[in-house]
């Protein structure tokens, strides 16, 4: 299966290891992965700040890079949701529509398209799951505590396949970590307080790692953990699923 790999800008720049893990994992699972070299960003930073009109350039670039793929996969629920909800193209509305329907967050691609049931991975640590809001409430990667419906979790399902991994959830299972894009700087006080509160619940579970599907949330939590001098680390789901420790 041919897959267009979309690596969001902040992963590309600050967390290349997440991109590498995603690529290797998809290849291991038999996909032919192509990484369009002229890709940059999905435009979400501008759009969520109220400047959607400034994200047209990003949209055009995205369409140029990804219109040839049946499957576009990215290790970020937030960026995938942005593309799904907001990607527009005045010149090629059909192509934009095609992309919006073909873009997948990594975990849902594994569970729903590749439908994997086993995984050759091991990660002998205590891991706390952070449900990032855009993946969860936007893409429905897992059930949500607010709505009355049967429980499920696509990332949880995948983590179950990893040998040696002990999975735990914080008490408030899907409360936001406070990253929120530019919220994290414009509302710095609330943002950090929210992050600290998430961390408190994870450390109560004595986890070695906090994981999730969005490195943006993890970067925010990591920043706080490091400032606190904590031993708890953050790691992207793709890195765990690609681990053989």
């Amino acid at each position: 299966m041919k897959v267009g790999l979309f690596i969001p800008c902040y992963i590309d720049q600050f967390y290349p290891q997440v991109g590498i893990a995603t690529l290797q994992l998809l290849e291991k699972l038999g996909c032919v992965v192509e990484f369009p070299l002229l890709q940059t960003c999905c435009g979400q930073p501008m759009a969520n700040s109220g400047f959607a009109k400034l994200s047209k350039g990003c949209d055009t670039n995205f369409v140029n890079n990804f219109s040839n793929y049946e499957y576009i996969v990215a290790p970020s629920g937030s960026c995938v949701l942005h593309v799904k909800e907001h990607l527009q193209s005045e010149d090629n509305p059909e192509l934009a529509k095609h992309i919006r329907a073909s873009v997948y967050e990594l975990t849902e691609f594994l569970t729903d398209v590749l439908k994997i049931t086993t995984l050759d991975a091991s990660f002998p640590y205590k891991v706390g799951m952070h449900n990032s809001c855009h993946g969860q409430r936007g893409l429905h990667l897992s059930s949500m505590s607010e709505t009355v419906a049967p429980a499920f979790s696509k990332p949880g399902q995948l983590l179950q396949m990893v040998k040696g991994l002990q999975l735990s959830y914080p008490q408030r299972v899907d409360e936001c970590c406070g990253f929120g894009g530019t919220f994290c700087v414009f509302e710095e006080a609330v943002s950090v307080k929210m992050g600290k509160d998430r961390i408190k619940e994870h450390t109560a579970n004595e986890v070695d790692y906090i994981t999730g599907g969005d490195i943006s949330c993890l970067m925010h939590l990591e920043g706080i953990l490091k400032r606190q001098g904590s031993n708890t680390k953050t790691i992207h789901l793709a890195e765990i699923l690609n681990s053989k420790l």
Partner: protein, 454 residues
């Protein structure tokens, strides 16, 4: 004026109190969850509620006229107020005609929105809020901090001190039962003294011309039953077509608000009692404008249950006053910009867009989507700091094409590694309480070109 971010920062300075505030409201959210999970048909009820409200808004003019016709036939006097000032004047004129100077008022967020208390007090009228929480904040000359739990920001000790000052209760006696008993005695007197009672309206039924008021304390009933004149004030979106629809809304309202199956009192007022005057004031105050905004129209479906407040991780950690307006929280952040886009331009940004509000909303308002859309409007219509605009343009310029992006990334990471003081300083809000991520030598793209490109 201070914006949400700075008011929130002030609030959070007292971290222990912030934790207490967060946990108190989270407890209410959990009670709501339990009540919702208790009804297998919960999501179906939300869908019905949403559809009834959508339908009503699509034919609001007809339903309002139907309500008016039926209310008048029932002997109710119906008034129309185009804005807050008109609403306040209508109430005052009724008072004047009665020649009375005192009134009791049960909870009505509309009268908060219209600043009725301040207006009437300026005319020399004594207004007594009879909802316990509202009475507490009224003693303290504070506005409500939450639309259902007006004094939720106060601790028992503070209530005790307030009552000691105003009701001469024993100093330091924090016993809730003792304090509510004192409030009850005090309020009974006020009920008896006042010949005018104001109540809010939760649901106005077009088909019957009657309306329903929901309270837990029965204070709306005490007021309305003791007074010669009952004035009910409502925003025009409170209409529902049929009495049967109450079977949907009454089941949702209290469960969403506090986790109770139903409010203790759901009182139906259909006509004045013998010898009583019953007035209904129907208020627009910007609602027509909101109805005309396609993207924001369905915010008028709100039944003011405050579930979105209790679930909002930002509200819980910043308190009601950080929204500097009568209706705070997520719903306030999409209603207030309609009233004054400049004054409330900060509110759509007081959210991470996590979407929890949308999920709890019993009438399925797409709150977080509307926050996103208001952001787009605000940057067009309100004054945005030029630095923010320029910053966004610059960011867009970098991200638009691969050449600029690659260069900027490389330079940025080089700076972070070699000149860390440029980013690790007080001017960088990220760095205030968080470390910067490590800046790797190689981006993913660089790695890919080196290792993978055939």
């Amino acid at each position: 004026m201070k914006d949400h971010a700075s008011l929130a920062e002030q609030f959070i300075k007292d971290e222990a109190r912030t934790d207490w505030h967060d946990e108190t409201l989270w407890f209410v959210r959990q009670k709501r969850d339990k009540a919702a999970y208790g009804l297998p048909e919960w999501e179906q009820l939300r869908t019905w509620a949403s559809e009834i409200k959508d339908h009503t808004l699509s034919a609001l003019d007809n339903y309002l006229v139907e309500f008016e016709t039926n209310a008048i036939a029932n002997g109710i006097k119906v008034h129309w107020a185009v804005d807050a000032a008109a609403h306040n004047k209508i109430v005052y004129d009724i008072m004047k005609a009665q020649g009375v100077k005192k009134l009791v008022k049960s909870k009505s967020m509309l009268t908060e929105e219209c600043h009725l208390n301040e207006y009437l007090q300026q005319q020399g009228i004594e207004v007594v809020d009879t909802d316990l929480g509202e009475r507490i904040v009224q003693f303290r000359k504070e506005p409500p901090s939450h639309i259902v739990l007006p004094a939720i920001h106060l601790k028992k000790q503070e209530v005790s001190d307030t009552f000691h000052e105003h009701l001469q209760t024993e100093k330091g006696n924090n016993d809730p039962q003792y304090l509510t008993h004192a409030a009850r005695l005090h309020l009974r007197e006020k009920f008896i003294e006042s010949s005018v009672a104001i109540t809010g309206v939760n649901f106005a039924v077009a088909e019957t011309g009657g309306f329903v008021v929901c309270t837990n304390e029965g204070n709306a009933d005490m007021g309305a039953h003791a007074a010669k004149v009952h004035i009910a004030c409502m925003g025009f979106e409170k209409i529902i077509p049929k009495a049967a629809h109450l079977s949907v809304f009454l089941r949702l309202l209290a469960r969403s608000a506090t986790g109770q199956p139903i409010t203790t009192y759901s009182s139906h007022f259909n006509k004045p009692r013998h010898g009583q005057e019953l007035h209904v004031v129907i208020v627009d105050n910007g609602r027509s404008r909101q109805l005309g905004r396609e993207d924001f129209r369905n915010s008028l479906k709100c039944i003011r249950c405050a579930a979105c407040f209790n679930t909002c991780p930002v509200y819980r950690r910043s308190g009601g006053y950080s929204y500097h307006t009568a209706v705070a929280g997520p719903i306030g952040a999409i209603l207030n910009p309609n009233l004054d886009v400049q004054a409330y331009s900060d509110l759509p940004f007081a959210s991470t867009l996590c979407g929890s509000c949308t999920n709890v909303c019993p009438v399925k308002i797409d709150i977080h989507q509307q926050l996103w859309k208001w952001r787009q409007v605000v940057t067009e219509e309100a004054k945005v700091p030029i630095s923010k605009k320029m910053g966004m343009r610059f960011m867009a310029w970098i991200l638009d094409c691969n050449v600029n992006y690659k260069a900027a990334g490389k330079i940025g990471r080089w700076v972070m590694r070699n000149l860390p003081f440029l980013v690790k300083n007080k001017l960088n809000p990220w760095y205030k309480q968080r470390e910067m991520p490590d800046a790797p030598k190689e981006s993913f793209k660089e790695w890919y070109i080196k290792n993978k490109k055939a």
